[in-house]
Symmetry: C2
Amino acid sequence: MGASIREILASKGPAEGVAVRGWVRTRRDAKGFSFLEVNDGSCLGSVQVIVDAGVPGSDDLPGMTTGSAVEAVGDLVESPGGGQAWELRATRVALVGGAPDDYPLQKKRHGPEFLRQIAHLRPRTNLFGAVFRTRSLLAHAVHRFFEERGFVWVHTPIVTASDCEGAGEMFRVTTQEVGGGKDSPEDDFFGKSTYLTVSGQLEAETFACALSKVYTFGPTFRAENSNTTRHAAEFWMIEPEMAFCDLGGDMDLAEEFVKVLVRAVLEGPADDFGLFSRFVDKGLEERLKFIVERPFERVSYTEAVAILEKSGRKFEYPVAWGENLQSEHERFLTEEHFECPVTVHDYPEAIKPFYMRRNDDGKTVAAMDVLVPGIGEIVGGSQREERQDVLERTLAADGLGSGYDWYLDLRRFGTVPHAGFGAGFERILMLVTGVQNIRDVIPYPRTPGHCGP
Amino acid sequence: MGASIREILASKGPAEGVAVRGWVRTRRDAKGFSFLEVNDGSCLGSVQVIVDAGVPGSDDLPGMTTGSAVEAVGDLVESPGGGQAWELRATRVALVGGAPDDYPLQKKRHGPEFLRQIAHLRPRTNLFGAVFRTRSLLAHAVHRFFEERGFVWVHTPIVTASDCEGAGEMFRVTTQEVGGGKDSPEDDFFGKSTYLTVSGQLEAETFACALSKVYTFGPTFRAENSNTTRHAAEFWMIEPEMAFCDLGGDMDLAEEFVKVLVRAVLEGPADDFGLFSRFVDKGLEERLKFIVERPFERVSYTEAVAILEKSGRKFEYPVAWGENLQSEHERFLTEEHFECPVTVHDYPEAIKPFYMRRNDDGKTVAAMDVLVPGIGEIVGGSQREERQDVLERTLAADGLGSGYDWYLDLRRFGTVPHAGFGAGFERILMLVTGVQNIRDVIPYPRTPGHCGP
């Protein structure tokens, strides 16, 4: 294996016998020597390798075309050029695997649509390499955030027999033949109809009522036929859940979560972040610093509606108490009115699901959304209804019945105030990279009509 | 939220105004005062709370039964009893949520079958609390292992149109009606037939051929109708993949991986591990130290077969070159013959899948399995076939055709030697806890006929 190019470029001094292994980005031939830019995906940067004519392996230089795999061994010396600190003077080179002329990633720039069609090759480009390194960095930051705070990671199930919160259309999972007509769930693999999960929240609640602080981080699914830049059929969600916690504690955690994740990217590799802030979204750094540096404003839904109504602004969707806030409303609040991240709380009961805790006013529930500039809602959560009689009423009102006995058991046996939230991982990744299309932050995106390798 | 009981029990000195929130494990009433054992799932231990008759809230003591939720505030003082360092002298208590007499987890011991039927309550028991805390600890250790070594975590897709390695029966994922007769994949959500993934390896290879070192850690699925203590329909797998790596480097990583994970549990919370080693499996500590302390022996499949044949041992399954090693053979090698963990390499081509690299002997492939005592195979991996012409032959021999163009592209464009392995997360968790049934290490296990919440 040897050292990665990230490690080599971070070298503290010159070194002999250094091996560079990677893929050629470009080759330039000069009189008596050639330059190879070699990248191994461990970082954005490439190592410049100087190959003098005549060193062992240099006969294969013509085959070292863009996309080919090479190995070069030599001396790491200070680079006279301004681009980077170190370059490699090869004492030998080897062509490991060639790339013929039809290699799709020649030096010219490629559009995102074209690159989506070659999802198996696009991580070899600068942009997608940076996106997927950042995806990993952010995912590790998610785990670190919760681990440091004593949360237990719970692997809630992917295949489920309950339709959870009725949060959206579900995929059926089956070993029966497909095609309609003679569905016999009792003969199916699990002896009943099963689906891909839309949320691990209810199961996470059962673990929070045992281990106090838990979270999930895993794939979730929606069979919604929406072809937008924000929707994918398969995406990753983060769902913490805390016992002995009310809406205030929930908002505290959510706001800290957003700040810590944004900070992790700002403090991550400067080259990847620099690519996003220079080439993807010139306002990125300013927007992220805005989130990290400003305290979050908290405002009730009722106050937020009053602010929007008094704003004199013409919105595409009218503002009215009892209606959902639209993205344009959310962005007005965070970008223009408060000029800081905003947490809106206590939403109308009628637009929220059965499990959210009913407030004493008889009109609202203990729900909250965290809004950030450029995106709008980034986190949504609530205090959960812990009173058995109230929960039975709200379940019945939503037409949900006996399948929730286990969920009601949490309220029968040692019920406690508890709260949690859900955050779409890709939405956060789009926030911190500036990438506008969810298909470009998922290794192999699944959308209606698209399930390529 | 306040401090967890884990933090309170680790207190460096006495303290006033400490709040304990959790669930009552037991209550004992004495003359003029009561003892409450309160647990919040943050650790195995409970805090003993002494409630004098007459302190505010003590009227509710009769309701503070096993399973009820309580809050107690008071002074943390040295415990005169031997059990633990600290106890709480309550200045006030409150009953948060009662638990009626039909609470299923009364003090008596419950069998695992009964507890599986109340999977939503079982994490409140000592054993399952310890198992799921250890599951989280081990999962975090997996990520740390790879993050420290510069691996990028890749979220390979769950829903897939390719049947990967033909590794097993697959679940169909559909939005069509179910029941047989008129399957029209072109009208399905993705415009083709789709399934739940059995492995992310092939997709991980595409990312390794761009970012050099990657891994997956996520759910995988088998629709196999096996009702054993080792099989679940949904389980988590870890699959690293490294470019510029051969079988030797792959074995190095796999052996280090096993040792580091076992050590993470040995060095984790002593109370949870103590429960496993005292009550679940008395040989556990010895077996795990065996794995951590001994160097791994490496032996070729051919040598292993010779050893087994010469052993004079009567095996249930006969030993013959060309046949798979059975668990009894694997355990003989590691537990009796070598008395250390064993890595077996270079297996017969005929029993291994198309993507493993063909060796020059024309008979074997560059595959390897890591064997540990008590379990047998814990990791399986291989160097991948990087030669385009050979891979085209092995694909054709397995009857796999045009759907693998993208996979062949890795060999067309800058092909490199690369290798990786797969490890079943639950199998490792069973190894480190001594728990014998996979249903007891998964929060909500999915097996034939069982998909409960």
